[in-house]
Amino acid sequence: MLLMVSSSDTGHEPPEEDTSSSKSDTSSGTDSGHDTSGDSGQSGTDSGHDTSGDSGQSGTDSGHDTSGDSGQHGTDSGHDSGDGGHGGEPITTLPIVSWKWHHVSTPYLVALWILVSWLCKLIIEANHHVTSVIPESALLICFGFILGGMIWGADKVQTFTLTPTVFFFYLLPQVILDAGYSMPNKLFFSNMGAILVYAVIGTCWNAASLGLSLWGCHMGGAMGDLDIGLLQYLLFGSLIAAVDPVAVIAVFEQVHVNEVLFIMVFGESLLNDGVTVVRICYDAMPTAVCLMSQINAVEIIKGIISFFVVAFGGSLLGFVFGLLISLLTRCTKNIQIIEPGFVFVLGYLAYLTAEMLSLSAILSIVFCGMCCQKYINSNMDESSVTTFIGVFFLTWILNKFRLVPVEFIDQVIMSYGGLRGAVAYGLATMLDGNKIKEKNLMVCTTLIVVYFTVILQGITMKPLVTWLKVKRAAASELTLIEKVQNKVFDHMLVAIEDISGQIGHNYMRDKWNHFEEKWMSRILMKPSARKNRDYVFKVFHKLNLKDAMSYVAEGERRGSLEFVRNETAFVDFKKKFGDEFTEVMPDIMADTSEDHSGMSTMRGDPVPSVSLEMHEQNMNGVRETEDVNSHHLLQQHLYKGRKQHRHRYSRSHFDVNKDENEVQEIFQRTMRSRLESFKSAKMGVAPPKHITKHTKKDQLQKMPNGKSLDKSRSYHSGDEDFEFSEGDSASGFEASGGSFPMRVTYRAGAGIENPAFMPDLDPLAQVQIPPWLAEAELDSSMVAPSQRAQVRLPWTPSNLRRLAPLRISTHSTDSFMLADAPGAQQRDNERLPPPPPPPPPPHRDDDHM
């Protein structure tokens, strides 16, 4: 039984198998069975039962994760002593090549388990039609069964156990942190009252009624002869009553119920999970069992107080840690790699600290995740996910009316969705076998309940949901107008409340937002991140990115070369995407309003030819960025570059829906380089012809110069950008007036004159091939130089780079360039063709600046 338990539980939570596998190592020593000399310290911590049979087992853990494992052995008292240490393989090898299995066993098994669990996941993913019927978690349990059975058959021993310590120290924090982090704050808080009611009262009721009814059955003689008292029954009831957040997440996310329902069940599970853990911690204490007989009113009141202290203390602790994380991430602008580490470690610390103070660790980590979510998101990448934290605990706890009453059907689903999972099991195994006689019975019952709920309810959940026509969550994203309108609604409600003198939920939210905007954000966010926080603007940004991607994808589909050559296609394309693409520009070039204001004036220009040229300009920009993105030294060898681009863009196309950041990244780079081209154009220092006359060496010489200048500029730009953006928004129009004519002529030039110097471009480009690019050149010579190639040349980044020192007035662009520069660089590094001949770092660096 226990074997199945353990293996099934490894399979049960897909996201954290890596850690769950670590638990398997605790008793993994059965394979080796030798060299138990050094582990006396560890097995010393075991609680008597284990030591006799399992000394060989725990010995294999030598030195790796000592603290955690010894703790585990201490807690899983006795019942896995089975027939451990069954000999293993004798040492037959030569001393030279010794078989050091025990040396690597722990990491080895970890890796192996990760592999196996991912393979399971892979298999399940491959059979997608199955997962549409049976939830993944149920399938994983089945896999766990099978694998566990195999191991059982092979070893005849319970090799892997899930001990509560591992579960609570390593697995749970991550799941919960993730859950808290991804929790839709606004929804959660606006449904706070209901969630709390369900979580606290509902759970208590469940626990009490379950425990009492079981006890009643026992008293009535229906349960046979068991040594279980009332308290144990109550304990069991509270254990079972907790809805498992892990299971809920796993199942509900696949079912896509509407968000209110989801947040209700999810929030309830999170909160009452904390509740139950707390209560278990208290109840399972031996004193509680001893005191069972003499519980009086004072004790009860104490218990209630301690419950609140524990719960709110945990929340508060989490909040503090969340703020800490936010503060820290504010300072990590230059070392973004460790930012996620900060989040993780501090979240974990919050958990442990709460555990240490015997506060509710789960609550603390949930709140930690929730608090930092907002600020971190905006700190880590420029596109902040602006959620409104509407904290109005008190008003809402007291709030009896709900604006949107929970529908009856939803209630059915909620009651049905009360999945029990690994947490309950972990709690069950955590019970002290000495104090509670029938622990194994409880564990088994818990397991059966877990299986029942996860498998059966999980399977039937989906049909039930469809059958009851629960409002599914609309999977689609909000359109711009919806976002605008939502904002209008918000404002409207606040205004109406003001007018009608009602102080309500919207009022509180408004106040909170005000407060937050004024203080919290200022403290916790990077200044550059604050700028982009606006709701509507953010959506707009996102939509534009999508457009840009579709634009690129479109180009890709047509075959980029052809789409330039083919005039009609080009025009079509312009018509189709031109508008949106111009819109893209203002968005990205938030700081350089002169540029894009020029553009939008152009767009408004009634003379079609001008605007056409403008689009052409855009096209050029895109093509040119393709170059920027690719290996810089290859830029003049267009065909080589071409190939890489194709690869890259097809990749980015796939990423459109998967990784918003990456898409954004690509897009911002695109924009940046276009910006540069515009800038150089505006300064009038970059007549396209110049490029052709500059050799590589020339550029290289100029490189350091430009770089240093950039660096000095970047030094102070972090603080400035906010003011700049404001200034820009104010001065946008005036600036456009000045620069407009110049740019028109310039663009006209770009569009018309490009062909003029094409002839002399081509030979030059070929002459300049550096020796290390000979191979590339060979490759490119297979294809005739296309018109596209020639057109593109004037815009090559080499030109831009050469101009870098001259960009004096570009400080305003630095903000967003800087912000994603490290990320960009990273990407660049990973995307460079395998052997980048001599990739001078200055080049890349400069480009990012």
Partner: protein, 194 residues
Amino acid sequence: MGSNSSSMNNIPNAEQLVQETGFSAAHILRLYERFQFLDKDDTGQLRPEDFGAVRELAMNPIGDRIISAFFSPGQETLDFASFVRVLAHFRPADSNRTRDGAQPEPANSSMRKLKFAFQLYDQDRDGKISRAELLQVLRAMLGMQVTEEQLQSIAERAIQEADFDQDDAISFDEFRKSLEKVNIDHKMSIRFLS
């Protein structure tokens, strides 16, 4: 609110308002108190300036629009009945209320709510949100945070999204369709204290 019945009698057409708007008597009473508070010169009529007493409203980016939404076109004043009628838009929809033929569409139906929202945009009341009108709202709401050009392109986009008949403006039908997925009742309801 100690003198419930006597105050209730002071309110003109109180019974009818209860009938019409679905507010409870307590609601009406409370709103009447509010109305009187706003009505500084005790004329029984509110003027747009009277709303200025609500300080928070000045900070609301679309506050003036909301105020003007209270006043039917051409009218400078607002009596209590109209005040309540406008506020009735924001009552949460009630499911148990029988929809009899006499009141085909209560003010708190989502259609009426939408209509109200629509009129916030449609200042010239021509049944369409033109680009300029949308732009005004956007400008009010986004204000300093984005540049004029960005505003324009946002407006452009928003219109493109919603504009199904390509007339470069959003009619009410288009508006309704574009907001189909939004839970209007949820978004446009406040809890009136009683």
